[in-house]
Symmetry: C2
Subunit: 203 residues, 2 copies
Amino acid sequence: MGSKQRREREKEALRQDILDAARELFVEEGYENVSMRRIAEKIEYSPTTIYLYFEDKAALLFAICEETFAKLAKKLENIMQQYADPIEALERGCRAYVEFGLKNPNHYRVTFMLQPDRKFGAEHYLREGSMGMRAYDRLRECVYACIREGKLREKDVDAVSQAIWACNHGITSLLITKPDFPWAGKNRLIDLTISTFIEGLRR
Amino acid sequence: MGSKQRREREKEALRQDILDAARELFVEEGYENVSMRRIAEKIEYSPTTIYLYFEDKAALLFAICEETFAKLAKKLENIMQQYADPIEALERGCRAYVEFGLKNPNHYRVTFMLQPDRKFGAEHYLREGSMGMRAYDRLRECVYACIREGKLREKDVDAVSQAIWACNHGITSLLITKPDFPWAGKNRLIDLTISTFIEGLRR
DNA sequence: TAGTATGCTTTACGGCGTTAAGTAACAGTA
DNA sequence: TACTGTTACTTAACGCCGTAAAGCATACTA
């Protein structure tokens, strides 16, 4: 009587199909420009079926962002292991963060740039245990290592981590939002921003 | 026969009423959460009347943002005049920028954080001659003065200006988007971010 | 006073996210 | 095998949205 398990598997498969369709559309066209109806059309189900698998559009997005930010957290973990010098690890991590954002602009926008909705938004994506928070914790550890080795002039781990994050976020989000601005060379600008900030942190 | 002029004045007055109503609602509830119908209700006209004065919702928003960013540009101009030392002017300017963003979060969001739409967005708000661009030019001049006085290690005016902008934008937009994140003290964080970056720029 | 331009409204279109009600296929039991 | 309940999905509908087209008074002009 394995039919129960088969049905279970089929349900899971459809859930994944929804996720895949939504991801593809969101990444291509941006969250706000994709309707539930279009996602449904893509998987050839009725729009309301999606609601049997996800609470609402925001939940769908959240699931996708968690996937993506798990990747970022992993990437950062790898970098942390790879470089013994925490300052070098920090710099590499910053670059990886920005690159990640530019490579996944729609995920990035949705997670870090969308408006603070009463219900969703902030606490949803950066709540304890979320992948976004896990990525932040990697940064925090790296900063802690820098401070422990006496390489920074400021000793408040959280303040420094958040300042670094702000700086990285600034360059990432501006490049995403204003692609047509006459930037002084994107890569040059990323380099300058990150290296200047780290220089400013050093004792 | 001054009735023509009177009518002209009345039209202008209604245009301002629309702008005032829209500004108030946008600031209170955020652009996406305000409908044309609600703006119309507030001024006690039919929704379509608004379209006789503004091309669409985005144009309404654009007009409001121009107003607001003219204020920022002016503020920055004042600061530039007030401080002889360009480095000090720079630091004050950065603080003013962040403060301005936090005080007008909805304007800020709309001008610097909204998605790059095919039709509007980027080039609309930061096109040549716009108030946003004028504010950027103030920053640019200040950076130029710093370089001329040999106070910075990097000499590319645009690259430096944009890096500073990125940094300011980062802290501003993060604080707006994630008000519930456990920040290490907002003011402390703003201070640290700005002063660290400027420290990194100095020669 | 007739005709026209102006300024606003009514109506309507095609979309949206989401809920509630309905249905057809299947599973388990008698 | 016939009945019953459950599961998985669909259809229909609600109340929004931005916006275009057409209609309708009022005020001005000739």
